[in-house]
Symmetry: C2
Subunit: 419 residues, 2 copies
C-alpha cells in the first residue's frame, strides 16, 4: 500500500457455518435393509467438505453428493499421517428429530487434535453447526428401530501438496455419515462379554506420546497386534504400559481410594481395544469404586468415559433433579465413587482373586459399554465375572441411563437436537 | 465347483514388475532452474501406481502422467493412517546412468512397514525393479550438477473404502520422484551445523511402539514440537526417552566399550530431527567410538546409519579392496569402533565436559550427514565442537566416502545402476 500505513497480513477466515452451501444429489440411493448394516460400510447420499488454504483460511463449507476426494499424490496426509477424526452418533428422538450426545466434547477434542498435529485451527461451534446441518440432510438414513443411529465421522486431513517435512497449512475438513445398528444385536441372545489379549509386546501409547488425541496414527499400529490376538482366540487387545508414577498413586491413596497396590515392573492398563477401560471394585463396606485410568496423556479423553464418571457422581450427590439421583438398580445407599487412577493388570488379578472385582468393561461411542469377560495375560486366562444378559450391575445401570439420554427418553442437558 | 474337488482360494497375485505398463505424458513439463529447487516441492511428469484388491492381489503396475489420486472419503488411510513410505535418491553417474544407493535396504524396510500396519505384502525385488523403471523414465529431471539428485518416494496407503476398524485389504502403492539439490547449498559458505532442542515433553518413540518403521504416523506428531522449538531458536528436535535398559548397557560394557555411565532418570537419545543420531567419542588412546543408539525398536534402521557403521568397520579391517581400507583423512592406525549403544544426554554432556566428544551429527537420506552444534536441554545450551567447513574429522571422512559412492566415483557393491 502506498499510503504509508504498514501492510497488515489479512486475518485468515475462520470456519463459518453461515457460509454453508447445500448442493443436493439429483437422485437419492435406496435405503438398505437395517439388519444388513455393517458398522461404517454404508455410505449415504451426501458429505460435507470445506477446505483450508494457507493465505485465505477456511473456505465455504459445502454439502455435496458423496464422491471421491481428489488428492495430489504428494499430499501431506498420505505421507506424514496428518489425519485425525471424531466419532459420534445421532439417534432419533420419539418426535423424529435427530439427537446428538455431547457434541461439544467431540468438537473441542477435534480442535485439540488439530493443534497437536499443527493443522489449521477452527471454531468448534461452527463444526457443531455443520454436523447438525449434515445430519438434518441425511436424517432419512437413520433406521426407526431401537438401537439404530447415524454414525458421524468428521475428519481433518493435511493436504499440502508437497513432500517437505513441514506442517501442512493446506487442509480438508470433511464429514461423512453412515447408518449403523446396535453394537450388540438385539436378537435375544443378549450382550456377549468380549475376550481381550493383554499385550506387552505392543504398546498403544506412552507418556509424551499422542494417546490422548484422536489421531489416525494411533490406530494404524493396532491392526497387526489385534489380528495376532484374534489368531489366539481373543477379540481385542488390552493395552498395557510398563510405567506407574508412584507420586500419582500416593496422591490417590491420600484421597482415600482403597486397594491401591503397586509394584515395580507391573504393567498398568491404558485402554481396551478402541475403548476406555473400567473396573468396578467392591469396597469392604459394599460401596463401589468405578476405576478408570486417569487422563495423563496416555488414554483418550472419551465422551462415554467422562459420561460414566459423571453419572457415578450424580448417583452420589443429592440433587433436585430426580433423573440423576440414582443409577437404576443401584440403591442410593450404595455409593459409587468415580476413581481415576492407574491400575495394573497384576493388581486387578489380585483383587479378582479376593472376589473384589464386580465387573470390568470398555466404554466408547461405537459399543457404548462393552462387558469384558476373559483376559489372556502371560499365557494364562483370567476369567472376570460374567452376568446373565451380559452387563454387570453397574454397567447395566450406566448403559440404560445413557441409552435413555441418547434417544431423548431421559431428559438431559447433554442432548442436542438437530433441527 | 461341481466336480467334487474342494474349492481352493486363488492365490493372490504378487507385485510383478514384468506386468509394468508405461503410458507416457503427451507433453512434458519444462525443467526448473536447479538453484530454485526446494526439497520435495517439484513434481515430475510421471508417477508409478499399482493397486491391491482383496481377492485378486496386486494388479498391473502403471507408469502414468502425474495426476491426483481419487480416494473414497472413507478410505482407511485417511482415517486410520495406514500409510508408510520410503525415501531414497538417484544420482547421475559420470556416464549418465542414474545410480541408486542400497535400494534393497529401502525395499526390504518397506515390506516390514507394510507388515507392521497389516497392509498387503509384496515382493521387494519387484518394488526395486519398478523404482528403476520410473527413475529411468524420469532421468531427464536429474540436474547435472554436483550434489543434485532425484529424490524417490515410494508410498503404500490402505484404501479400504469403509470405516470399519479392521486392517485394509485394499491398498495403493505409488512412487513419485522429485529433483532435489544438496541439503547444504554448495555456495562456499560450507555446511552449517544445526541447533537442536532436546525435548522431554514430547517423545517420538517408545519400546513396543513403531519407531523402527517408516510410518507416516511417526511424523505427524513431530511438527508441533518442531514448530515450538523453532520459536525458541532451534532448528530441529533431539528426541529423548526416559528409559535405559541396564541389562543391555551391561552387555555393552562386557563387550569392551568405554565410558558407559548410566544413572536413573537420565534421558537417552533416540533420534535427531528425522535423522539417526551419532556421537564420536575419543578413547583415552585416541581411537574413536562411533556411538549410535541400537536398533531396539525405538529408532529407524536408517540406510545412512548402517552405512556409517559399515564404513567404520571397513576402516578397521584389513581387506584386499583398497577402497575400503581407510576413511579419508583418518590414519589407519586410528581405529574407529562402531558402537551401537544407548547414550543419555547427561552422559554426552559429561563426556563433552571432559573434552571427549569429537563431534556429534545426524545421518539420513535427505542430508546424508548433518553436523550438530548447539543443543538446548533444560534451559541450558550445550555447545558441541564445530569445525571449519562444518563437518568434523570423522563425519567429513564418512560424507566424502558416501558421496563418492552415490555418484559412482567410489566403486561399491552398494551401487545399483538404473538401466
Amino acid at each position: 500500500m502506498s499510503n504509508g500505513i504498514p501492510k497488515q497480513p489479512m486475518p485468515l477466515a475462520d470456519l463459518d457455518a453461515s457460509k454453508l452451501e447445500i448442493h443436493l444429489a439429483a437422485t437419492l440411493k435406496d435405503l438398505p435393509e437395517p439388519s444388513s448394516l455393517l458398522f461404517g460400510e454404508t455410505k449415504t447420499d451426501h458429505m460435507l467438505v470445506v477446505e483450508h488454504e494457507p493465505l485465505a483460511g477456511w473456505g465455504k463449507p459445502q454439502i455435496v453428493p458423496y464422491k471421491p476426494l481428489e488428492l495430489d499424490p504428494a499430499s501431506h496426509c498420505l505421507h506424514y499421517s496428518s489425519n485425525l477424526f471424531e466419532g459420534m452418533k445421532a439417534y432419533l428422538c420419539p418426535d423424529g428429530v435427530p439427537l446428538l450426545f455431547r457434541p461439544d466434547m467431540n468438537a473441542t477434542r477435534m480442535t485439540l487434535s488439530a493443534e497437536r498435529l499443527a493443522l489449521p485451527p477452527f471454531n468448534p461451534d461452527a463444526l457443531m453447526a455443520l454436523i447438525k446441518a449434515l445430519v438434518s440432510v441425511e436424517k432419512r438414513w437413520i433406521p426407526q428401530l431401537p438401537g439404530y443411529s447415524l454414525y458421524i465421522r468428521p475428519c481433518l486431513i493435511g493436504t499440502r501438496p508437497a513432500m517437505g517435512v513441514v506442517p501442512s497449512n493446506h487442509a480438508t475438513l470433511f464429514i461423512i455419515v453412515s447408518p449403523t445398528g446396535p453394537f450388540f444385536k438385539h436378537d435375544g441372545a443378549g450382550v456377549k462379554p468380549v475376550s481381550l489379549y493383554a499385550s506387552f509386546d505392543h504398546v498403544r501409547s506412552w507418556p509424551g506420546g499422542t494417546g490422548a488425541f484422536k489421531l489416525g496414527g494411533n490406530y494404524a499400529p493396532t491392526f497387526m497386534p489385534a489380528y495376532r490376538a484374534a489368531q489366539e482366540g481373543y477379540q481385542q487387545i488390552l493395552w498395557l504400559l510398563e510405567d506407574v508414577d508412584p507420586k500419582e498413586t500416593d496422591a490417590i491413596e491420600a484421597n482415600g481410594a482403597v486397594d491401591v497396590e503397586k509394584k515395580s515392573s507391573e504393567m498398568r492398563i491404558t485402554e481396551a481395544g478402541q475403548m476406555n477401560f473400567f473396573a468396578v471394585i467392591v469396597r469392604e463396606d459394599g460401596d463401589l469404586d468405578l476405576v478408570t485410568p486417569p487422563l495423563d496423556g496416555t488414554v483418550l479423553p472419551g465422551v462415554t468415559r467422562d459420561s460414566c464418571l459423571e453419572l457415578a457422581r450424580f448417583h452420589n450427590l443429592p440433587t433436585d433433579d430426580p433423573l440423576y439421583t440414582c443409577l437404576p438398580g443401584i440403591p442410593a445407599t450404595r455409593k459409587v465413587y468415580p476413581c481415576e487412577r492407574n491400575i495394573t493388570i497384576e493388581e486387578l488379578a489380585r483383587l479378582h482373586d479376593k472376589g473384589r472385582v464386580l465387573e470390568i468393561f470398555g466404554a466408547g461411542t461405537a459399543a457404548v459399554i462393552c462387558p469384558i469377560g476373559r483376559v489372556g495375560y502371560r499365557h494364562k486366562d483370567i476369567l472376570f465375572p460374567e452376568y446373565p444378559g451380559g452387563y454387570g450391575p453397574l454397567s447395566k445401570a450406566l448403559v440404560e441411563t445413557l441409552e435413555g439420554i441418547f434417544v431423548g427418553k431421559v431428559k438431559s442437558t447433554w442432548s442436542v437436537r438437530c433441527e
